[in-house]
């Protein structure tokens, strides 16, 4: 199983230009809203026609602008879970799921698949309900069941949890995780939530304004983002332009000079909010600080700080409430050189 995507499409001033390959894995498309993630899925599904490029799934060409191939969505056999699930409002759950089985003519097989799908997605007893009589989670499971019985060659999930309450999210996330494992083929997951992406996917493509900024293994991406955007989207809160001078990092925005982890080309540096640590004594990459603002979060404290006496932009520092209680003894804050992200 493999998917090759290489497409370009213009929408007024916005330009989508992406190319990637995916195997039997979950590939996440991570990016801010309006950066072209959902549009990529729509192009693959055949709902939107790219201006140019190629889309190949398991050696069958779905789209090729040069050879004038453009299969209809019906011919592509790819499953797309819409953000709002897109169930047919005038059909019951059972009718909705049966709609996914257009290829299967035998009545017995259809009924058997329906029963299997209903039990697999915990929809037994709900088969005669209409979509507006279901909870968000049930709607999502019905939509997934409908897609799965259509035996798609590719599974695409567009922001699958964005319409759900946070307590439901976790449950359905586990559901989707086991589903993608059962599915065994390629799954594309569109999301703007880095935690969700980290838990569900193998590799991550970071989108930035219609282009793929970085495509990497998720561990590599989260441990060691290489670009400003991948650092931002993986949740790095402190980012600033930096230059290397005589082996030291000069960061004018914060008014700091820091020891780098290594000497490599750098345009920006990033420091994750929890990689700042309180320190008793001065030392390497350690500086006195003043607190500009204190924000109490559910399980942590967020402090906006800046080097004492400086006038630069504040840094965001997250620490546990225990650490915060002992903070008065620590007049210094430090960041280990290896924790500094060197970004281009």
């Amino acid at each position: 199983m493999s998917l090759l995507v290489d497409i370009r499409k213009n929408f007024g001033t916005f330009r989508l230009d992406v190319s990637f390959e995916a195997g039997d894995e979950t590939l996440a498309l991570l990016g801010a809203s309006g950066c072209g993630k959902s549009m990529t899925l729509r192009c693959i599904a055949g709902i939107v026609t790219p201006d140019a490029g190629r889309i190949v799934l398991d050696n069958s060409v779905l789209f090729d602008s040069e050879k004038h191939i453009n299969l209809s969505p019906q011919q592509r056999r790819v499953g797309l879970l819409f953000q709002n699930y897109a169930l047919f409002p005038t059909m019951t759950v059972a009718q909705n799921i049966l709609c996914g089985m257009g290829h299967e003519k035998s009545r017995e097989t259809r009924q058997a698949s329906l029963r299997m799908a209903l039990s697999r997605f915990y929809l037994e007893g709900l088969e005669h309900r209409f979509p507006d009589q279901l909870s968000g989670g049930q709607q999502q499971r019905a939509a997934l069941a409908r897609i799965l019985v259509s035996q798609p060659r590719l599974l695409m999930l567009d922001e699958p949890f964005s319409a759900l309450d946070s307590h439901l999210r976790w449950e359905l996330e586990q559901e989707v995780l086991s589903l993608t494992r059962e599915f065994c083929g390629t799954t594309l997951l569109v999301s703007h939530n880095r935690d969700e992406v980290y838990r569900l996917s193998h590799r991550v493509a970071v989108y930035n304004q219609g282009r793929i900024d970085v495509l990497d293994e998720k561990w590599e991406l989260f441990e060691n983002p290489r670009t400003y955007h991948s650092a931002l989207l993986t949740g790095c809160k402190n980012l600033a332009p930096a230059t290397l001078r005589e082996g030291l990092l000069d960061v004018p925005q914060w008014g700091l000079t820091l020891s780098p982890p290594r000497v490599t080309p750098v345009n920006y540096i990033g420091i994750r909010a929890h990689d700042l640590l309180p320190a008793l004594n001065p030392g390497i990459n350690t500086f006195p600080y003043e607190i500009l603002q204190r924000i109490e979060d559910t399980f942590s404290m967020i402090l906006m700080i800046r080097p004492k006496g400086g006038s630069g932009a504040p840094l965001r520092w997250e620490l546990s409430k225990e650490q915060y209680r002992c903070l008065e003894q620590c007049p210094f804050v430090s960041v280990a050189p290896e924790k500094i992200l060197m970004l281009t």
Partner: protein, 229 residues
Amino acid sequence: MDWFPLINSLRIALIATFFTFFIGIFAASYIARLPRGVKGLLDCLLTLPLVLPPTVVGFFLLKVLGPKGPVGSLIVEWFDSKIVMTWYASIFAVVIVTLPLMYRTARGAFEAFDENILSAGKTLGLSNRYLFWRVLIPGCRQGLLAGLVLSFARGLGEYGATSMVSGYTPGRTATISTTVYQLWREGNDALAYQWVFINLAISLTILLAVNLLERRNGHSAFYLPRKEG
């Protein structure tokens, strides 16, 4: 009392609404898919009878259907009969006058329908025809029914174009509206009142039906979408 005007009005409105309903739905779904320029032009053309005086519509119809007009002359040639001044000439008038209502309501309903639902159906392998008849039409049924009822109501009350193409012949082309006018001219107020109350009763029943549909629908049946430039 001669019930002919009621029967004639009802049969004209019923037959005309039948045509209006399907022409309106197909026009709405067809025009929605057209490129912008053509779309705006056809949209204006179909909405025009809503803003034109019915007498102007009647005038055009007479020019087309009259014995010397392009359609009327063919009918004289083939069937050796005239179409104007018959009761069924009114059907043409009523279809044209009610079409904007049906077309606009249908377009509003189609435009309000979530496009993603149809896209999802396509990725599931369902044909466009199936999606139109089994997903889009049932999904928009409240709006379409409201359009149907409105068209019927408008058709039943049509006066201007009808009186021009069918005239007023008691027992042959008289409708409720032309009868009321005729009775008033003759000074027969008593009989005129009877027809006025019959008309009021029918209209109130219809508006009640529209309101009930709206309540179930959640949005106004009179919803007219913004005109495309």
